[in-house]
Symmetry: C2
């Protein structure tokens, strides 16, 4: 029990306490934990102020003292009331929680990779031969990772135009990608999957906005670049691996068995209900646990060649799609490459996103007898580029 | 003239004065300019100590005061002798000059892209249809950019093994890539090519080490990842665009004419002589000016979709190869996919790099009547992974 009023259906009960950065009265943006619709100013509560009176959670993550700080925050919130240390959240108060080091995006959903293969290369095997042997991924742009609520300006780019020269114009196939991202707390190299918990601080929701027409034109042979580099939205609350531990479940069976550096003994799939809304219509509903490659395997792969990972590195799952069409995590799949329209509750329909569309990714862990551990949301509204 | 003794053939005369970070006696690593075989401790000389008594040049670059600081350094070095402010460079004194934001690597040499296409896809057109319309590029790993001299551990990875499962083992096709990189001083979005000088602080040499066997197995459909993420070496001295200005020359004619966002009126090709040695044998000698896409076009492209660029972002040219075989900038090309051996002066030969091989990339701008403006070197020795 806590002296802060927590709504019954809140994503953020006392058992969650995710970390973030917020503007609170009387100081510059500072490290907080979220509780209900409030935040606790950790430094004001006297909890490790040298690590928490900071504009990002990076110093706290690097210190390895995240667990201790979260436990002290829980004690503070369960102890005598100290209303001077908590603040009601207002719009715009919440900032990017961490400085992103490198951002790697994977492609680890079997259904998503299969769907994309079928849509883009209908005459070939949908999966590349490497897909079941390693978690395919690429580096994205860290400098354009933005916090939930940031408007997303429709990107320009070169798109195919018949057999002639490509046209430079605003993307007409702007898409979302429903993903879950993991934040590195303490770095390392050649990390084994079963050591993931020593390195991963927590998780966020990710919308890896994608311009499918730009991507189709640019992506060979070096992968996507401008199609995705304009913006990636994350949820503002880093839900700790400690809070998520009870939702770790066995991963799907992998066939063929991967190389030994990808073997894990422990359970690293994560049972998170996910959904996406466009203008308040749910367009996809899925669960994260069916992802083919676990985040522990992704971390092991990313460092298996000897590459180091650092505090603040972000790696994301890739689009999370389930088997059934209502569980696919992108409009590319839901509209089957633009060939089917998706009906919204307001009577309009979409293949890809229009200006003004408001896209919200939500995620929540639920289990019988357990408090709800939610992620909040990764939201963004598409806006046209202002003419200048 | 300067009171510091500068060898006649030095890369670093008074007209160069590149920025770097070095360990100097009596303080923590600090911002310096290089002159001959010495460095000037800028803060000790009283030059903007709040910007120069720093562990990286990022604050100086972000301030926009780089030109003024370099001019004051030149005055200091041309004025009354102040030997207490300069230090002879010793091995190991020189550190990574800037904190890398995002690292984007392009693929902008026509000869290199054509060679790679012929080697990897001999039955197809060597160039993808997009290649002459946009500077193809991808994001690399910023956290593993290392300074010249850092040993390069041979990476492990999954490599193809007949028709069966891939094998996880040390790369046997480890390669260098001869490149030139550009450092963003002050950020922006939708930068036009002719505004490049307002945003680019300077240039460095780059060796984008590549494991060709890992790359061949992993790269479809999202591009290279572990094949390149283990290490990228840069030279320690950021040669300013001011020092390079007189070596800006007209770029090769582009046919077809690119989209208008890539048009430039000014000359943005850069006349830099480049070479690579393996164990002191020159294996490639080329010039940077023939690159098909200029760095100004690369910067414009990278931000054309609305993506921002930040202080410390690094973008590199891609392998610089000329027309003739002795000017190709990678062993992949020099050995034509491993089918020809390259003879070294010590009587041994190579297709790809062996443990112990020492690879040095050098670069220098020369013109009649002009002082030599050199880059120094980007060097690294390949070492086997220690057994543990």
């Amino acid at each position: 029990m806590t002296w802060v009023d927590v709504p019954a259906d809140s994503d953020f009960p006392l058992e969650n306490l995710p970390f973030g950065v917020a503007a609170v009265p009387g100081t510059s943006p500072t490290v907080v934990v979220r509780i209900g619709d409030h935040v606790l100013d950790l430094a004001a509560a006297g909890i490790e102020p040298s690590l928490t009176r900071q504009p990002s959670i990076n110093a706290l993550m690097a210190s390895g003292r995240g667990r201790a700080v979260r436990e002290r925050a829980a004690e503070h919130l369960a102890g005598p009331a100290r209303p001077d240390t908590v603040h009601a959240l207002r719009d715009g108060d919440v900032l990017l929680p961490f400085t992103v080091g490198d951002y790697v995006d994977f492609y680890s959903s079997l259904a998503h990779a299969t769907n994309l293969g079928r849509i883009l290369r209908p005459d070939d095997e949908p999966l590349m031969p490497n897909w079941r042997h390693l978690p395919v991924g690429y580096h994205g742009r860290a400098g354009t990772v933005v916090v939930s609520g940031t408007p997303i300006t429709r990107p320009d780019g070169l798109v195919a135009c018949g057999d002639g020269a490509p046209a430079f114009r605003p993307s007409t196939r702007l898409d979302f990608e429903l993903e879950v991202g993991f934040v590195v707390g303490t770095g390392g190299a050649r990390i084994t999957p079963d050591d993931a918990a020593e390195h991963v601080f927590g998780a966020v929701l990710v919308n890896d906005w994608s311009a499918r027409d730009i991507q189709a034109y640019e992506y060979r042979p070096l992968g996507p670049n401008l199609a995705k580099s304009f913006a990636t939205t994350i949820s503002p609350w880093v839900v700790t691996l400690d809070a998520l531990e009870r939702f770790l479940v066995p991963a799907p069976v992998q066939d063929p068995k991967p190389a030994s550096y990808l073997h894990a003994e422990r359970d690293w799939a994560l049972d998170v209900d996910l959904d996406v809304t466009v203008n308040d219509t749910v367009v996809s509903r899925t669960n994260f646990r069916e992802l083919y490659w676990t985040f522990a395997q992704q971390l092991a792969h990313m460092t298996a060649n000897g590459a180091t990972t650092r505090t603040g590195d972000l790696f994301a799952s890739g689009t999370v799609s389930g088997e059934s069409p209502d569980s696919w995590g992108s409009l590319m799949e839901l509209s089957w490459g633009g060939s089917r329209r998706i009906e919204l509750a307001d009577g309009t329909s979409r293949t890809f996103l229009e200006d003004g569309d408001h896209v919200v990714v939500r995620g929540c862990c639920r289990a019988p007898g357990s408090p709800r551990i939610g992620f909040g949301e990764a939201a963004g509204t598409v806006v046209a580029r202002r003419s200048e």
